[in-house]
């Protein structure tokens, strides 16, 4: 009699438990029983706020093999390549921590979206060439069954770099490097330039280089969404929160020459939930710092740069946010459909936006007049004083332009040499960097993601050798000189 009475109850609780676990830990509250049990427990244990049946689905998991700090295009690309290059399926668990899931301040979506091969460092050219191949075959790389194909709205209009007499020799040698690496770039004299683009004023231009193929601009939001969709389908976990603390252990060691070295290893990452004081420690084996403009802060949290200056311990990650403005203007007499992405010797750039004679562009301010990166407000005087005069000088039609709108975004600016930082930290041995690209992170993200994933999984670079971009260059003082930074 007793047995028959207890059976149904067992069955029901098992069923309830089964349902609960399938929903990823959300509280099964549909048959008021659970709340009844909760009340009972509370009456037995008065005073305690202990809540055993608690919805924790918004918290990150307690363990993850790789934690990627930053869910921008670089972080997602690292996640994608980690999952793609892992040998057995589902071998590693990857967690992406993103602070702002609307991406309102993320550099990815606030960028102009250009891609070019006209760099001076061979590695940068290779990164860009790999990325353009990725973007071209994006529907093979990021194909998800049953989802519509992606259209990244690539405008293959090319980049037109102008050089003054002073920069002409440098441009020539750069183009030689670019051609060696396989970029389709041609040099143009001012005469040829006038024939091809009659709207340009060639005064002060000695030489121009023009990308025939593989260059242009695309929709960054679409790439981000495509990566997100694909990465989600591959089983990467997402978490909306902020990394506040790293728990690490130190190991004192001695080199062969008798020097004492302290090696650190991160064991736990504390992820603070948005709008709350609650945090979740995530045990992890590898942390990837892809926090873009804020990666300097993340590095500091991990104890990088805390030490006497001049030593490897005291070398900070020299990446900081820099505010850059983008202005949109309308000019009915402006250049037509053939307009490439033009970069003036003065640093001012512009490109066509859509078909309605709209253009967008901007300029990087000088080191002295760098704006405060605390907010994303736009300085309209900057356009009047710095950008417009150069624009009107280069394209006379722009004298009658009408500014339409503007926005500001951040560069993850590497103050040391304006190039990316890729690979592990020499002392904090399980923190890997993928940051500091100073404005060309979006266009190189697919290749950088692959390079970092190779470094994590294989221990060395395979596809593109990025060893000049390792962290140790800051300590050794070896700058990677890139001349074409805009």
């Amino acid at each position: 009699m007793l047995r028959t009475a207890s059976w149904p109850r067992w069955g029901r609780t098992l069923l309830a438990r089964g349902l609960g676990s399938r929903r990823g830990g959300s509280a099964p509250d549909q048959n008021g029983k659970v709340s009844e049990i909760k009340k009972k427990i509370q009456s037995v244990l008065p005073g305690g706020a202990w809540n055993p049946l608690y919805d924790t689905s918004y918290l990150p998991p307690e363990h993850s093999d790789v934690v990627i700090v930053g869910g921008g295009v670089i972080g997602l690309s690292v996640a994608y390549w980690l999952k793609r290059l892992e040998k057995p399926r589902g071998a590693i668990r990857v967690l992406v921590v993103e602070r702002d899931h609307t991406y309102s301040r993320a550099s990815t979506v606030l960028s102009v979206g250009g891609i070019r091969q006209q760099f001076s460092v061979p590695e940068n050219i290779q990164l860009s060439l790999f990325s353009i191949e990725f973007l071209r075959n994006i529907n093979e790389y990021l194909a998800v069954v049953d989802d519509p194909p992606l259209d990244i709205q690539f405008n293959p209009s090319g980049y037109l770099l102008l050089a003054s007499e002073k920069g002409a020799a440098l441009m020539e040698s750069n183009v030689k490097v670019q051609r060696q690496e396989g970029a389709k770039v041609c040099l143009m004299s001012p005469e040829q330039l006038r024939n091809k683009f009659p709207w340009i004023n060639t005064e002060g231009v000695a030489l121009a280089s023009y990308g025939m193929e593989h260059e242009g601009w695309f929709d960054p939001w679409c790439l981000l969404q495509g990566l997100r969709r694909k990465v989600q389908s591959m089983g990467v976990l997402f978490c909306h929160g902020e990394v506040t603390r790293f728990i690490s252990s130190s190991n004192h060691m001695e080199t062969r020459s008798g020097e004492e070295v302290t090696l650190k290893r991160i064991h736990e990452v504390h992820v603070k939930v948005d709008h709350s004081l609650e945090y979740q420690p995530v045990e992890c084996a590898i942390v990837i710092n892809a926090a873009g403009a804020w990666s300097g802060q993340i590095a500091q949290l991990a104890g990088i740069g805390k030490g006497p200056p001049g030593t490897l311990q005291g070398t900070k990650l020299p990446v900081e946010p820099r505010k850059r403005y983008v202005y949109v203007w309308h000019c009915p007499q402006g250049p037509g459909l053939e307009t490439p992405f033009v970069i003036d010797p003065s640093g001012v750039y512009f490109r066509r936006e859509g078909l309605g004679n709209n253009y967008l562009g901007g300029c990087s301010p000088t080191e002295e007049e760098e704006p405060d990166p605390g907010n994303l407000e736009v300085d309209h005087d900057f356009f009047q004083d710095k950008v417009w005069p150069s624009l009107a000088q280069r394209v006379p039609a722009f004298e009658t332009l009408k500014a339409r709108s503007s926005w500001a975004g951040y560069y993850d600016y590497n103050t040391f040499d304006q190039n990316g930082v890729v690979g592990p930290h020499p002392l904090v041995i399980n923190m890997y960097f993928a940051t500091g690209f100073s404005g060309h992170g979006l266009q190189q993200a697919p290749a950088v993601g692959r390079a970092v994933a190779e470094m994590v999984l294989q221990g060395h670079f395979q596809t593109i050798d990025l060893s000049p971009f390792l962290f140790s260059r800051f300590y050794l003082g070896e700058k990677v000189q890139e001349h074409n930074i805009v």
């Binding site: 069954v145 194909p149 293959p156 053939e338 078909l355 309605g356």
Partner: protein, 257 residues
């Protein structure tokens, strides 16, 4: 002018449906929302069984791989008979037609067979290629770009010709005189913008491109960009219709003055 005709449709409307899907996603549409629509049994199974999911992913990859196989270059023919024969062989294999300089058009028959006599014409350049409806893609253009004397290129209704392909046509700039892109579902105004490299172009057909957002405006801009070129767009009929309607309204509306 002639009476307004219905717009000339070279393409079946299913292409329109496909491209609308492509364009729809690029904007802020959340990917989760798209998944929920129209769930089929196969999707149901794929969500619950890893085997089904893996099989479907494999089939998707295989589709792309087939495309690659079709467009791979014929290296052997190229080394043995030269680039012209290799290009012609590539196009004929895909079901298109080629015309060597001073010869007749060569076409494959209904079964896809064609005579290999053209392999003897090693030094005769190819002057015209009709790749209408062929599965040429970016990779396959390699074979076409080797035809340096190509004057006429028809790429009508090619399902895999996209903006990336158009950006690759610049090596043909010195010879190409006629280009037809009518009915290609993936070509948009962004790709048309880089046709300005083709300065010798005399005739360009950009009619019925479903992915172009503003066909009328795009045609005007392309005409401005290529002043020596006759640009054909099917949109003239639609433009005419709108104009007449406006005229009609003008007549009926009471004139205040």
């Amino acid at each position: 002018m002639a009476a307004p005709r219905a717009p000339l449709h070279l393409v079946a409307p299913r292409w329109n449906a496909g491209t609308r899907g492509i364009r729809g996603l690029s904007r802020a549409a959340a990917p989760e929302g798209n998944q929920k629509k129209g769930r089929s049994l196969l999707q149901f199974l794929a969500d619950r069984f890893y085997d089904v999911q893996a099989l479907r992913e494999y089939l998707l990859r295989k589709q792309a791989w087939k495309m690659h196989q079709k467009n791979r270059p014929f290296t052997y023919i190229r080394e043995r008979y030269g680039p012209y024969a290799a290009g012609a062989y590539f196009i004929l294999k895909l079901g298109g037609a080629v015309k060597f300089q001073g010869k007749e058009w060569i076409r494959s028959n209904a079964r896809g067979h064609f005579s290999l006599d053209f392999l003897k014409l090693q030094t005769v350049p190819v002057e015209a290629v009709d790749a209408s409806g062929c599965a040429v893609n970016y990779q396959g253009l390699d074979s076409l770009l080797a035809l340096k004397e190509l004057q006429v290129l028809w790429l009508q209704r090619c399902p895999h010709v996209d903006d990336w392909c158009l950006s690759r046509l610049h090596p043909l700039a010195s010879s190409l005189q006629e280009l037809s892109l009518a009915g290609c579902p993936k070509i948009s105004e962004r790709g048309l913008a880089c046709l300005h490299h083709l300065q010798n172009l005399r005739k360009l057909d950009i009619s019925d491109l479903p992915a172009v957002s503003n066909p009328g405006l795009t045609q005007i801009l392309v005409e401005e960009m290529l002043p020596d070129c006759k640009v054909v767009g099917a949109d003239w009929a639609r433009g005419l219709k709108v104009g007449q309607e406006e005229q009609y309204q003008d007549i009926t509306s009471p004139i205040p003055a």
